[in-house]
Structure formats: structure tokens, C-alpha cells
């Protein structure tokens, strides 16, 4: 039971309290890049949830089963993880194209972009080095915890990007000063949106 509570806390903590976009600023490029339409942001979210969970699972196994026993963990983890993510994205793209052309049309164009989505690399890194999160404690996530953590991050990402897209659709018809048009007003909106997330800080720590 206690384990379940812990997993739940980890999930909510990663999704809301430490929301990856608005609180920690990871993954801003897709956030501002594909958030002008609700449809595209849903496609991107689906792709991110899928790839992020798989990438974290594989990276965790590779780190524990390969890098640590061989003593390479300290200096090869960055290169390894980015290669895992890049090849995973390629693989997923090929499989989806064969298995479900409809799904491929929906999220196909977002898949290559995910390789340089820092959120995916951050999720993979933090699942094996939670120390980045809170340096004070030396703690290793178990496999299940790592998965819960990455799903939490991906859900938080999707929630914010989809709701932000619907805000931006309304902004297009709003009267905005000339020099604020486009990117600046999106940032101001993001600032106001992230104010809401200040309310979550200190809710609990993980």
C-alpha cells in the first residue's frame, strides 16, 4: 500500500508540482513550436507519452544492466541515452508506419522532432540519476518508479501543451499591440499560466 502511495505521489509530483514545461522549462521548443493548433498539440502529446515512457524504460535497463557493471556509467551515459532515444524514434516511426497508417499520419511528423526534445532526455537521465532532482539524497529509482516518473512527466507535458494550444487559438482573434504579436504574447500568456502552478509548489516534495 505504501508503495502505491509513493508511486502516486511520484506521478502527481512529476506531472503538476514539478511540471516539466511551466515549472522546470524543459521542452519549451515543442511547447512554443506546435502549440498554435489544438490538433497538432494532441498529436505531439501522443508521440511524447509513447516515446518518453519507452525511452526511459530502455535507458534505465541499459544503465543498470550495461553501463554500471562495465564501469562506464559516469562518462558514457549522455552519449548512450541520446543514441537510445534517436534509434528508438527511428524504430517507432518504422513500426507505426507499417502497423497503423492512420496513427502515423496523426503523429508521424512529430516523431523526428522528438529526438531533440530535451524533455525526453531529461526524463531518461533523471530516472537513473534522481540526484539531479534533489541533490541532498542519494537514491535510485526502481524500474516501476522510473516508469511512473516518466509517465507523470509526459502527462504533465500533454496537459499543459493541449490547454495552452486552446488559449493560443483564442489569442489569434484578440487585439494585441503590434510589437507584442506572435512570440511575445505567447510568453506573456505562459507567464500568467505558470502563475497558476505557483500554487502547487510546496504541496509536497518528492
Amino acid at each position: 500500500m505504501e508503495d502505491l502511495t509513493r508511486l502516486g505521489l511520484l506521478l502527481i509530483g512529476a506531472a503538476l508540482v514539478n511540471n516539466i514545461i511551466l515549472v522546470r522549462f524543459i521542452g519549451l521548443c515543442p511547447f512554443f513550436g506546435v502549440s498554435s493548433k489544438v490538433d497538432t498539440s494532441i498529436g505531439m502529446s501522443a508521440a511524447v507519452i509513447f516515446v518518453m515512457t519507452m525511452a526511459t524504460a530502455i535507458s534505465w535497463v541499459v544503465f543498470r544492466a550495461l553501463l554500471v557493471p562495465l564501469g562506464l556509467a559516469d562518462f558514457l551515459y549522455i552519449v548512450t541515452f541520446i543514441l537510445v532515444i534517436a534509434s528508438l524514434v527511428q524504430l517507432v516511426e518504422i513500426v507505426i508506419r507499417k502497423v497503423s497508417p492512420a496513427l502515423f499520419r496523426a503523429m508521424g511528423i512529430f516523431l523526428p522532432l522528438i529526438t531533440t526534445n530535451c524533455a525526453v532526455l531529461a526524463a531518461a537521465t533523471e530516472s537513473v540519476k534522481p540526484g539531479f532532482f534533489r541533490m541532498a539524497i542519494a537514491y535510485n529509482y526502481t524500474f516501476i518508479e522510473a516508469i511512473a516518473y516518466s509517465i507523470g512527466i509526459a502527462l504533465g507535458f500533454s496537459f499543459v501543451i493541449i490547454s495552452f494550444a486552446s488559449m493560443r487559438e483564442r489569442l489569434e482573434t484578440a487585439p494585441i499591440p503590434e510589437s507584442f504579436k506572435g512570440a511575445p504574447i505567447a510568453f506573456v500568456t505562459a507567464a500568467l499560466y505558470s502563475l497558476a502552478f505557483v500554487g502547487f509548489t510546496g504541496l509536497f516534495n518528492i
Binding site: 511551466l22 522549462f25 543514441l83 534517436a86 529526438t115 533523471e126 507584442f180 511575445p184 510568453f187 505557483v198
Partner: protein
Amino acid sequence: MERFLRDLVRGIFEQNALTKSLIGLCSVLAVSTKMENGIMLGIAATFVLVFSEIIISLFRKWIPSQIRIPIFIVVIASFVTVVDLTMQAFSPEMYRTLGIWIPLIVVNCMILGRVEVFASREPVIYSIADALGTGMGYTLVLVIMGFVRELLGTGKLVAFGANLIVLPPAFQAEAPKIFIMFPGAFLTFAFLIVLSNYLLALKEKR
């Protein structure tokens, strides 16, 4: 020589990766709570940028174009590992503050973008100019953001142990803390883009 200077200056102002192309934002918004963090991350990213561009520009004629992206990423990741280990060894405190942002230099789209657009086509000497210019432009934005946020959010400016500016205690007690929290990052950046767009528009008019 003239072209060297032109390539150098272009990256700092008119083609600034952050305010003009809006790439590589994540680290800037996250790290700019203090000015000294910004300076350190700026140096780290410039180092990676310069050496990646040198290596890729040197080998540009031998890199097959079908697999160029994985090659670029591996080169960048190697230099990021160098920074990661060096900073861990010589400045553990700064390493702890910057945390996940050091490994995330790999997926900074600014670096991959410059390597793809510039270094893979141009001679080494101009690639160095481009890398230095882009890196300085990035550092400049980091320093401005850090300056504004630290000064307004805490009422004083401390860099590398020295008090640079101290505002009156009355201001410090009532300092708008929102600037060092995450909404402040979006807000400061929004106004920075507005300012830079405005100045560039003025220059064009003249």
C-alpha cells in the same frame, strides 16, 4: 578578415538564436535566476559550440549526408561529456546548481542548428567565428535575463562572491519575488523579445 567579423557579429545581434529564432530557450529561462549561473552556462555552451563546429567543419567533406545527424549528435555529446566531467571536478558547487542543464546541452537545438546550417558547409575559420558569435549572443541573453531577474527578485546582485549592486533594504524587504520564480522567467523574456524586435525595427527604418 572582414567576413570573419561579419560572421561573428551576426550571431550576437541580428541573428541571435534566442530572441530571433526562439531556439535553445529552455536552459535560458531555467538558469537565469542568478547572473553567475548564466555566465557559467554561457561559457559551457560556447565551449561545446566552438569545438563541435571545428570538428564537423574539418570533416565536413567526409561525412555522408544520410547519417549526418547521428554523427553531429555524437560529436556534440562527446564535448558535453567533457564539460560535464570538468565541471564536476573543478566546480562541484556550480555543477550542482546547473544540474540537469549540463547534460541537456546535447539537445540544445541552437547547437545542432548551427552545426547543420553552418559548420557542415563552411570552412573552419568562419565556423569558429559563427560559433563564437552564436555563443556570445546566447551568453549575452543569459546575462541580461539573470541581471534583471536577480536584481528585481532579490534586490541585490551577487556574482562569484562579490556584491555588485545592493538596492536599499526597503526594496529588498518588499522585493517582487515572482521574478526569481518561474513566471518571472517567461515575463522577462517576453519583454526582452519585444525590446529586441523594437530596436531591430528602428534600425531597419533608418
